[in-house]
Amino acid sequence: MAREIEGHTMRRFDGELHHLHNLLLQMGGLVQNQFELALQALREKELQLADKVIARDRDLNDLEVKADEEVISVIARRTPVARDLRTVMSFSKVITDLERMGDEVVRIADLTYSLYENDGPGPGTQMMRDVHGMGRMCGEMVQAALRMLDSLDVESADELRAHQLELDSEFQSSVRRLATFIMEDARNVGNSIKVVLVLKSLDRIGDHATNIVEHVYFLAKGKDIRHIPPSVHRA
């Protein structure tokens, strides 16, 4: 990590990049925590927890503004080039992805409300099975992407990107399975649509985690892999 950010003759520049990096890690930590709480609220039908998630999104937005200001300040004061330029540009894109992950998490909390408000029965266990499975996969991806953002070590980038392909295919399968609930009983339409929206948010969170990995890869290696399929294909 140190090598990527440190070592400037102007040590203050090191400090500014560290500060920016720390803001990103704070945002990442908050997103991860929000994500876990949102899934817990959904699992335990805990609407107060969903409320908390929705309220705390403001903290994430504040951090986003702060981090963006820091990016502008570093560009204006240091006119970064080469690795420093890639660092600042990549960090700027990571900020956007983290904020959008936060938005998706809030969407899940909103859907939790909509599924369980008025003490309604909500969707059955069978219908929610895929949500919990995808939630676990997605949580692992978020954690791994944030670890990579912290260490700036991109050795396992392709493996992580391959996870996203799995998540995509899991999403498609889940939607097919949910369609069978609708075909069985038309009264399942409302809940099925909401569950599909939760799954879509999980899929989008996975996309953003993958984006973060790709931005960090560009920072570290100087190669843009966004539109190149991963070379590692998981069984």
Partner: protein
């Protein structure tokens, strides 16, 4: 001209070898220059092969091969004492004036070896002109500063033609509008930036093919610097330019290719865009990102 054509600013300099797929940085003392130092025969205006320069026992430039293309600006960058100015001065044999300096290797302009014994350095230095760090106008009028070169090289057959050359050169150097009403005032009375543009007018008045610039803006304020940089961009249409600069931003702004020197070796050469976003040698990256030392 279509908008697509308007965006095609870079000269199409075909390189001999295609750029490798990007990989991890090369590190350690360079034995071979990283990047495309050599151009194909049609693109190259000046070719330098295995150039070595010695100041007495000191080996100042070590086995450098580099081509400078037509209508391109090449920036030579590197820390103080790395040999970039020494190399620049080899390109019009300015080092001949230093008694203990000894140059080996081949340096040619349009296929003509400039170190050939038959070459007269006076016309050579008109063909490969030079602009220095500090503006150095002659203690003469603005008109005479520009007219001096064409007159001694016999480039004008009469007074009228000489005037045309002076006016044309001052216009191309972007100075005409500021001095047209005081052509007979002393050149030394101009501001620093104007003096530097006067020196550029003086250089282009003798019809050079290549212009060498050794930190031409280091004594100028940001506005005067911006005017010189704008001028460099315009001059590129007609001349080949090699510029030594300590300003990374200036190298990034004005050049199409950048060459990084380190302890007398040429570490890396590449498209300026590549050098400043994704250099291939660790030494280049450390230098341009301010980690050197």
């Amino acid at each position: 001209m279509t908008s697509l054509e308007l965006t095609m600013e870079k000269p199409n300099l075909a390189v001999k070898e295609s750029r490798d797929v990007k990989h991890d940085l090369t590190s350690g003392t360079p034995e071979k220059t990283v990047g495309e130092a050599l151009l194909d025969a049609e693109s190259a205006r000046m070719t330098c092969r295995d150039v070595n320069v010695y100041y007495g026992e000191k080996h100042a430039i070590k086995n450098i091969s580099l081509d400078i293309g037509r209508n391109e600006v090449v920036a030579l960058i590197g820390p103080s004492g790395c040999g970039k100015s020494t190399f620049l001065r080899c390109l019009n044999r300015m080092n001949d004036t230093i008694e203990i300096c000894h140059v080996t290797g081949d340096i040619s302009i349009d296929g003509m070896n400039i170190y050939d014994k038959k070459i007269d350095v006076v016309p050579l230095r008109a063909q490969v002109g030079m602009v220095f760090q500090k503006p150095n106008p002659f203690p003469k009028s603005i008109f005479e500063n520009v007219a001096y070169g064409p007159r001694i090289h016999g480039l004008a057959s009469d007074k009228h033609e000489l005037e045309e050359i002076v006016v044309g050169s001052l216009k191309r150097a972007g100075l005409w509008d500021e001095v047209k009403d005081r052509l007979h005032a002393p050149g030394t009375g101009l501001s620093g930036g104007q003096q530097q543009r006067l020196c550029i007018a003086r250089t282009i008045a003798v019809g050079p093919e290549v212009i060498l610039m050794d930190e031409p803006c280091s004594a100028l304020d940001p506005i005067a610097t911006a005017r010189i940089e704008e001028l460099i961009d315009e001059l590129r249409e007609n001349f080949t330019i090699a510029i030594v600069t300590h300003s990374m931003q200036q190298a990034a702004r004005v050049s199409q290719r950048t060459a990084y020197f380190h302890l007398g070796t040429l570490v890396e050469v590449g498209d300026t865009d590549d050098i400043f976003t994704n250099p291939r040698h660790r030494l280049t990256e450390d230098y341009i990102t301010g980690r050197f030392g």
